[in-house]
Every structure is written in C-alpha cells, then in structure tokens.
C-alpha cells in the first residue's frame, strides 16, 4: 500500500496544484485590467483619449491639414430619449480645440439618468482623438420633457497618421437604472427580485424571439 513517503509527496503535490488553480482563477480576473490597459494603449475598441485644456492648447497646430470628423449617436432601447448630434460632420484642423454639441430630450414620464459610451472609428485614430470636455464623462439626468444641449470639446492630435482623413465619433446612450430600462422596453441587465423571473418567463414563452443571429 501507499508508503508514508508517497503520502507526503501526494499531499505536497495537492497543495501546490491547488495553489496553481487558485492563482489561475485570479489570473482570469487580472485579465480585466489587462484588457483595459491594452485597449488604452492601442486604441482598440475605439476608446477615446482624454486630455486637459492646458495641454490641448499647447499642442502643435497642423494648419496644412484638414480631417473630416463625423458624429453619430443612438440610444439603447431602454432609454426613451431623443438623442442626436447637432452637427453631422465637420472639417477640423489637427491640433485645434473644437466644440460640438449633441441634443437630448427626455420623452419619458419621469426623470431618467443615462450614461453615454463613446467609440471612435477607425481604431488607429482613437488614441489621437482627445476630449477635454464631454457629456460622457459623467451620468446625465433629464427631467420629464427636459431638453439639453450637451457639449463635446475635443482635439485631434496632429500626430494622427496621414492616411486617416475621416474619423467617426459615435455615442451609445444607456439607461443606468435597470428597472427603468426594462420599463421602457430594454431588457434588464440584472433581475433584482424573485418575481422578476416570472415576468420574464412570460415574455420568453409568449414572444417568438427574433431570428437575427447573423
């Protein structure tokens, strides 16, 4: 039968390997900041850069160049807001601060808080598109019927690769409150109460889900 020596070796192996498994579980979580870091450095996912007024004004202006910037925006289905850019496109000079505005109006019957998530295409322009001021830096609350012009002050870094002549800035506006989002037609992200499941069950069984896999 198994000798004491083997038994000891087995227990040691168990301890080491269990530690490895725990560390790998931690590694799974470590991938989250690592992912954000890689996206920040490379501009993947169109996450935009951010800067302050002083360093933006200190930038070199490349007056010989024009870059076309297009603006677009949409709301998630759970956010009953009118939301659109006031200017659809414009030509900017790299290195010069530019101000544009988006328009939003709450068509819902109650105060709603939303969060806008920006994205820039193409990816390689993302880190060169820097914002000084943006309504996406914080949550925005609109009273019922309230309308608002929301500013974005940005600068296109003059070091932007020469072959990029068009940049598209897009915002997706989400309802931050899950209950309210569900009320206005969006699917909730996290069911909070036990009875919510039943509500959902009806939804799932009565509606034929849309077929739009592609």
């Amino acid at each position: 039968m198994t000798s004491d020596k083997t038994q000891k070796a087995n227990n040691r192996t168990l301890a080491i390997l269990a530690t490895v498994a725990l560390l790998m579980f931690g590694f799974g979580y470590a991938l989250v900041p690592l992912y954000d870091l890689i996206c920040d450095v490379t501009g993947l996912n169109g996450k935009t850069g951010r800067t302050d007024v002083a360093s933006a004004e200190a930038q070199n202006v490349d007056a010989t160049r024009r870059v076309k910037v297009e603006f677009t925006g949409h709301t998630d289905s759970g956010l009953p807001w009118d939301f659109r850019p006031l200017v659809k496109k414009m030509e900017v000079t790299p290195g010069k601060l530019t101000l544009v505005k988006y328009y939003a109006r709450n068509t819902g019957a109650e105060a709603i808080t939303g969060q806008a998530v920006p994205s820039v295409a193409p990816n390689k322009a993302a880190t060169y598109f820097k914002k000084v001021e943006c309504f996406c830096f914080s949550e925005q609350t609109l009273q019922p019927g309230e309308e608002k012009e929301m500013p974005v002050r940005f600068i296109v870094d003059a070091r932007l690769a020469q072959e990029v002549d068009t940049i598209t800035l897009s915002y997706a506006f989400f309802n931050t409150d899950k209950v309210s989002a569900r009320k206005y037609g969006g699917k909730e992200m996290a069911p909070n109460h036990e009875h919510d499941h039943h509500a959902k069950a009806h939804e799932a069984s009565s509606d034929v889900p849309p077929i739009n896999n592609m």
Binding site: T6, A18, M24, F25, G28, L31
Partner: protein, 517 residues
C-alpha cells in the same frame, strides 16, 4: 491492507468507493448517460432541420437545444469519459496500487451528477435554459431567466470536478509510478493525460472566473460586460477563449494518447517516434494558450493581432502533423489486423486529419470572415471532437473492455457498430461543409430553400448515428454480462503493465509495485 476483493456491496459500494476501478466505471457510465442525453438533443436539432420553416420546436427551444447539447457533450460526456479512462488505466499502466488521492477521487466524481442535474434542470426553469450558445456570450447571458444561473453554477461544479480530477491525475503520475517507470518510459496515454491535466489546471479556473463575472453582472451590480457601466462584452470573448482553446486540446490530447496505445498493438510494432510524440503533445499544449483570438477574428482586431493569431494557429499544424505522420509510420510495414479498436483508431486519425485541414482553412483570417458562424465551423469541430475524441473513446472502450470485464465483446457487433457510426457520422457532417460554404448560418432553426437537400442528408445521417449508439449500449451491457473469456494479454501485440494483470483486473492490483526494466 489486504489484497482481497472484499468491499461493501450495493449502493454504498458506489457511493463510498475510493477504488480507482470503481470510480473509473462510475465516470464511464455517467459519461455514457450524458452522451445519450446530449445525443437526444442533437436528434431534436436534426429533426427540426429536416426541412426549412419552423415545424417541430419553437426557435427559443431550438436555441436551448444547441446550447445544452454542446455543454452536455463537452463537460458531461467527453471530459468525464477521458477522466474515467484515466482512473481505470493510469494506475494499471504505471504500476500504482490506486490513484494518489482516493477520497478526493470519490468527491471529484460525485460532484458530476449534481452538476449535470442542475444543467438539465435549467431547461425546465421559467424562461427556459441557456439559449445563447455554449460559449455563453454576453449580453444575451446577462439577460434571461434563472435557467442561466443554473447553468453558471453547473459550469462551476463541473469545473471544480475537473480541477480536482486533474490534480489527482498529476499527483498519481508524478508520485506513484512503479520503480523503474521513468517519465520517458511511460505509455503515451499517460503522457498525454499528464499534459492534459496541466491544461485543465491552467484553463478551467479562468472559465470559472469568466462565469463568476457573468453571475455578478447578473445579480450583484458589477459591470464587467455591461457597456453602460464601462464594461465590455468583447472582453468576455477574450477571457472565454483563453479557456476555450486549451479546452479543445483537453478534449483531444487524451484521444491522441489512445491512438498511440491502440495503433502499435494492432500494427505489432512499437510506436514510431515516441520522444517526438511527447514533445509534440507538449508543444500543442503550449501553443493552445496563444491562439485564442482565432475564434473571434470578426470582432474587429487590428491587422497585427489578426496576423499574430493566424500564424500562431497555423503553427499548431506542425506538431499535429508530427503525430499523424508518426502514427502512419507506426503502421507502415506492420503486421496489421483490423479488430474493432484498430478500426476506430485508424478512422479517428484519418477523420481528425480532415478536421485539421478545415481548421487550417478557418485559421486564415480573410477566409474566416466567410466561414465564421456558419455550418462549416460546425462540420469542422465535429470532425475534430467527434472523430478525434469520441471515436478514440469508442476505440478505447473496445480495446480495454476485455481487461475491465474479463469478457471479449462480440467482434461482429463491434464492427457493425463501427461501420454504422462511420456512415452516420460522415453523412451527418460532410454535407455541412458545403452548407457552410454556401452561407448557412449555425444556431438557426430555419434555412433558405436551397439548403434543403444537404440538410436532409445530414438529418438521415444523424438518425443513423444516433441509432448506432443504442447498438453500442447493447454491446457494452452484453460484454459486461458475459461473453468469451478474455486472456490476460487480450491482444497478441499488446505491450504494457496493464496486460500483465489477470482479466478481469482484480479489485486491487499492484499492491506490491512491479519492477519495470
């Protein structure tokens, strides 16, 4: 401790057993049950796809079938089946009296039925089971009813079982080898399992992390994958496939080990290139951790990323090719006979190579944009997982069952099972290559009219394949109950310690370790 065959009988024998052979048997029957459950779901899928339009099941239920079929087959059938083989065979092959951690072994197994119950129960929850595909991509999986929570917890428990099982396997191989059984004398099945166990240990905890994030996103207000809260759904795909790609080698490396046992036996020649086989296995294992994003070429990666993942993926063909050529060289000028296990091994190698070639096609980034999420992918991974892993499992069952039961299986029935499986499998999945190339998307209950004929071939094939497995069940039960007495060596060309013990293998073997020269 005596070497007598005394042990509790009835239910308590199986509940409390710490014997590696009992636990191996439990694993194998459990996985066979799940194989039939997952197979039944595949039959529903193929029945619905018999003709275009919606006839048998609702689309939402169809989506649950594709999702749960995959989860059941991967986590419930193939992985536990190989763990069952490991339990039965590893101690016998390295001359150990049992697994290193027998009580942990009992627990690893008994986690499984509970996990499987949770997973299957999810289908009966309000809102149904998971329907977002086995890859569990958000945002769909942060929506949905509590069936999704059942699934997440089932994946947790299945993963726990796999981690404990792999710790046990590593401890057994590293600490329990008979005197003289050096690492480079170990049979290749032992080697592939050692490497697989390390893959499991490194990748399953990452999956556990990913589904835990899903769970906390669903219920505890975190925003890992919620864009509104600053998270990113694409990040899930990266974390999932960091687990998911090693996972496919977890499913197939032990199968390579099985091929490497069976082919030399029936070619009556030692395995060609033993050392290169070991290193090829280790190379595949290493590469599996740096190719994950080839599952997600279409999410929008920079050119450098696409190129890196394309080239690293293609690189895997090199060690895999080494293995295939080694098996061919083993057979070359051997005195081959074609008993059922050998048929399965040859077919497995050949059809796995077909899956490997379509894998190379898929690795080419620009081509993948056409193939992505089509039936071409479905055909590809069934040629690797069914032809690689499941055919190896069938071959392994025929190869070792005389040692387990002391009875020979019926050769005619075994060969019938083989040919029915071959016809059924190829008829099911070969036309799916064409469907995919023509643009039929996967995971959709309906399709365009022009795909009807190939889908009908595929459905007929699936029904043959399904029926053939009932024959397998009959053969297995018949062999357990009786049959021609097996000799200790069983096969003329068999080499290795497991063939030195009597057939059936007594309850306790190698209580005194054998001396390996």
């Amino acid at each position: 401790m005596s070497a007598h065959d005394s042990h509790p009988t009835g239910l308590s024998r199986w509940l409390f057993t710490t014997n590696h052979k009992d636990i191996g048997t439990l694993y194998l029957w459990f996985s066979f049950t799940m194989f039939l459950v997952g197979g039944a779901m595949a039959m529903i899928i193929r029945a619905e796809l018999w003709q275009p339009g919606l006839q048998l099941v609702e689309p939402h239920f169809f989506n649950q079938m594709t999702t749960v079929h995959a989860l059941v087959m991967v986590f419930g059938a193939v992985m536990p089946a190989f763990t069952g083989l490991a339990n039965w065979q590893l101690p016998l092959m390295i001359g150990a009296p049992d697994m290193a951690l027998p009580r942990l072994n009992n627990w690893s197994f008994w986690l499984l039925p509970f996990a499987a119950t949770l997973l299957v129960l999810s289908l009966f929850m309000p809102g149904g089971g998971p329907a977002a595909g086995w890859t569990l991509y958000p945002p769909l999986t942060v929506q949905g009813g509590m069936g999704m929570d059942f699934t997440i917890l089932a994946v947790h428990i299945l993963g726990m079982s796999s981690i404990l099982g792999s710790i046990n396997i590593i401890a057994t191989i590293l600490n329990m080898r008979a005197p003289g059984m050096t690492l480079m004398k170990m049979p290749l099945f032992v080697w592939t399992w050692l490497i697989t166990a390390f893959l499991l240990l490194a990748s399953i905890p990452v999956l556990a992390g990913a589904v835990t994030m899903l769970l906390t996103d669903r219920h505890f207000g975190t925003h890992f994958f919620d864009a509104a809260g600053g998270g990113d759904p694409v990040m899930f795909q990266h974390i999932f496939w960091f687990f998911g790609h090693p996972e496919v080698y977890i499913l197939v490396l032990p199968a390579f080990g099985v091929f490497s046992q069976i082919i030399p036996t029936f070619a009556r020649k030692p395995l060609f290139g033993y050392t290169s086989m070991v290193f090829a296995t280790a190379t595949i294992a290493f590469l599996s951790f740096i190719v994950w994003a080839h599952h997600m070429y279409t999410v929008g990666m920079p050119m450098a990323g696409e190129l890196f993942f394309m080239y690293s993926t293609m690189l895997i063909a090199v060690p895999t090719g080494v293995k295939i050529f080694n098996w061919m060289a083993t057979m070359w000028r051997g005195s081959m006979t074609f008993e059922t296990p050998m048929l399965y091994a040859i077919a497995g190698v050949f059809l796995f190579a077909v899956g490997g070639v379509t894998g190379l096609m898929l690795s080419i980034t620009p081509a993948d944009f056409q193939y992505h999420d089509t039936y071409f992918v479905v055909a590809h991974f069934h040629y690797t997982i069914f032809a690689g892993s499941v055919l190896a499992l069938m071959g392994a069952a025929y190869y070792w069952i005389p040692k387990w039961t002391g009875h020979m299986y019926n050769e005619t029935l075994g060969k019938t099972h083989f040919w029915l499986t071959m016809i059924g499998f190829n008829l099911t999945f070969f036309p799916q290559h064409f469907l995919g190339l023509a643009g039929m998307p996967r995971r959709i209950p309906d399709y365009a009219l022009q795909f009807t004929e190939f889908n009908q071939w595929s459905s007929v094939g699936a029904f043959i394949l399904g029926a053939a497995q009932l024959l397998w069940l009959y053969i297995l039960i018949k062999t357990v109950k009786g049959g021609e007495k097996a000799t200790d060596k069983v096969w003329e060309g068999a080499e290795g310690l497991e063939w030195t013990v009597p057939s059936p293998a007594p309850y306790h073997t190698f209580s005194t370790p054998p001396q390996v020269r």
